[in-house]
């Protein structure tokens, strides 16, 4: 009988705290959003289930959780805490990204830079409310709308905030179709939303092969801190564009990125133990993340309008919002909002240019913040 009573005390039911219960509900909500609403299902499903796993309370003597040294989850989490998984995901992203639209209209690259204002202005906001510069840098990168970049930088600058930052980054990426449209409509007139852009030209094979090599050299020489992320991104793209390494490119963009995404999402979710996650800091991070996203979207749209002051062939300012990365969701949002104003206007191809430029921009921004803020 004693053994049975002792065992009952080790069950999750007995040890459940309100915090654990709250996190379990959040995990279930993530899974529901992924399955029912198809909001970033490839990410929210593993993260949601990871949250369930990470919030089942168990006896302290049993090393089971992410933070228990020697546990399986602890070893899997090593890929996150040491920043190993994000570059591998970037390799896969590079192998599946088509930079042709960017190559056909190089001025659109600047929209990817403008949208990074969200990162740096949020950094100021985070410092203002009491976060240290390193923490503020890690929080600001949420505005880059790039989950792997956010995880990579927070692992380097503020590992204690990694769980909250990762969850915030992926949540807002999933909510791109909800967050961006009101800001885009607020900052543009109907006439601006109806601007039709010239069809992009076809990039040649030489251009597509030379681009990843040259862009890597430019970015890595200007901001060496971005070396790992940018290097893997462009290496993956070279594998794709060279066409002589199809096997490698196929593996990078299918099996490898899928495996890493599963592991990354799952252990990030499992790292959200209620004791570590349900803090005032996490709430502030979520608030700042939303602010960062909103600023990034607004900056992209406003910069497109600013560029239009000097351009003969106008840019539809809606595609500026795609500069926040979140590939390809923010480009889709530009297409949807543009389509509402003019059903015959198709912005998707044009929006992909600032979208992929945003990936480069956020990786460079992460490199800069890492270089400047690392102690």
């Amino acid at each position: 009988m004693d053994i049975l009573l002792e065992f009952l005390k080790t069950t999750g039911f007995y040890q459940m705290t309100p915090g654990n219960l709250g996190m379990l509900l959040i995990g279930l909500m993530f899974i529901a959003l992924a399955i029912l609403k198809e909001y970033e299902p490839l990410l929210l499903c593993p993260i949601g289930f990871g949250i369930l796993v990470g919030n089942i309370p168990c006896a302290e003597s049993m090393a089971l959780g992410v933070y228990d040294e020697g546990s399986v989850l602890h070893y899997l989490y090593f890929g996150v805490s040491q920043g190993i998984f994000p570059p591998l995901i970037f390799l896969g992203i590079g192998a599946m990204t088509d930079f042709s639209t960017m190559l056909s209209d190089p001025k659109l690259v600047l929209l990817g830079a403008a949208a990074q204002m969200g990162i740096f202005l949020t950094l100021l906001g985070a410092m203002f409310i009491g976060f240290t510069p390193s923490e503020a840098g890690a929080i600001g990168i949420i505005g880059g709308a790039d989950g792997p970049t956010a995880i990579f930088l927070s692992a380097k600058l503020a590992p204690h905030l990694l769980g909250a930052i990762a969850i915030a980054a992926y949540s807002y990426m999933a909510l791109v179709p909800v967050i961006q449209p009101p800001i885009m409509r607020l900052l543009t007139t109907k006439e601006e939303r109806r601007i039709r852009m010239r069809p992009p030209r076809q990039a040649t094979r030489h251009e597509r092969i030379l681009f990843p090599i040259a862009a890597f050299l430019i970015c890595a020489l200007i901001a060496p801190g971005s070396l790992v992320l940018i290097g893997m991104l462009f290496f993956g793209n070279l594998l794709k564009e060279s066409t002589v390494t199809d096997r490698l490119a196929n593996t990078a963009r299918t099996a490898m990125i899928d495996i890493v995404t599963i592991l990354l999402g799952f252990v990030v979710g499992a790292s959200t133990d209620a004791d570590q996650f349900l803090t005032r800091q996490s709430l502030l991070i979520f608030g700042l993340g939303a602010l960062s996203f909103a600023i990034a979207t607004a900056a992209g749209v406003l910069f497109a309008k600013f560029m239009n002051l000097f351009l003969h062939h106008k840019i539809n300012p809606l595609i500026g919002a795609a500069g926040v990365s979140a590939v390809p969701d923010s480009a889709r949002v530009a297409q949807i909002v543009g389509h509402e104003a003019d059903p015959h206007n198709h912005l998707l191809m044009h929006a992909m240019a600032p979208n992929v430029a945003g990936v480069i921009g956020s990786a460079v921004a992460a490199g800069v913040l890492w270089s400047v803020l690392i102690k």
């Binding site: 190089p106 600047l110 830079a113």
Partner: protein
């Protein structure tokens, strides 16, 4: 920290407000960061803009890049299916949009 405070020892909390930004070099980090991001992407933009002209000038000296992707397919139908040459990008965008809209409406 609470114990120190209870004992009457003055304890400094985290810096907040403009003082935190000033002492943490927030403005300098922001300006530097934005400048570097813009410099990197402007350099990429300029490179992309110059690339077609450079390639055109170097045309005679450039190697012809061939791979199995460039080999002519065995039958004409396959060529039409596999090649994007001559396909109106607006048509591709429209098809992409239709697929997306269909997926969005799918419950």
């Amino acid at each position: 920290m609470q114990l120190l405070a209870q004992a009457g020892v003055p304890v400094e909390g985290p810096l907040t407000g403009l003082r935190a930004i000033t002492e943490g070099n927030g403005i300098a980090i922001t300006i530097t960061g934005l400048l570097i991001v813009f410099a990197a992407l402007t350099a990429i933009s300029l490179f992309i803009g110059a690339l077609p002209k450079v390639l055109h000038a170097m045309g005679p000296y450039l190697p012809v890049i061939e791979s199995h992707h460039d080999m002519p397919p065995d039958n004409g139908r396959a060529a039409k299916v596999s090649s994007n040459e001559g396909v109106d990008p607006r048509l591709v965008a429209a098809i992409g949009w239709a697929v997306h809209a269909s997926r969005q409406s799918d419950p």
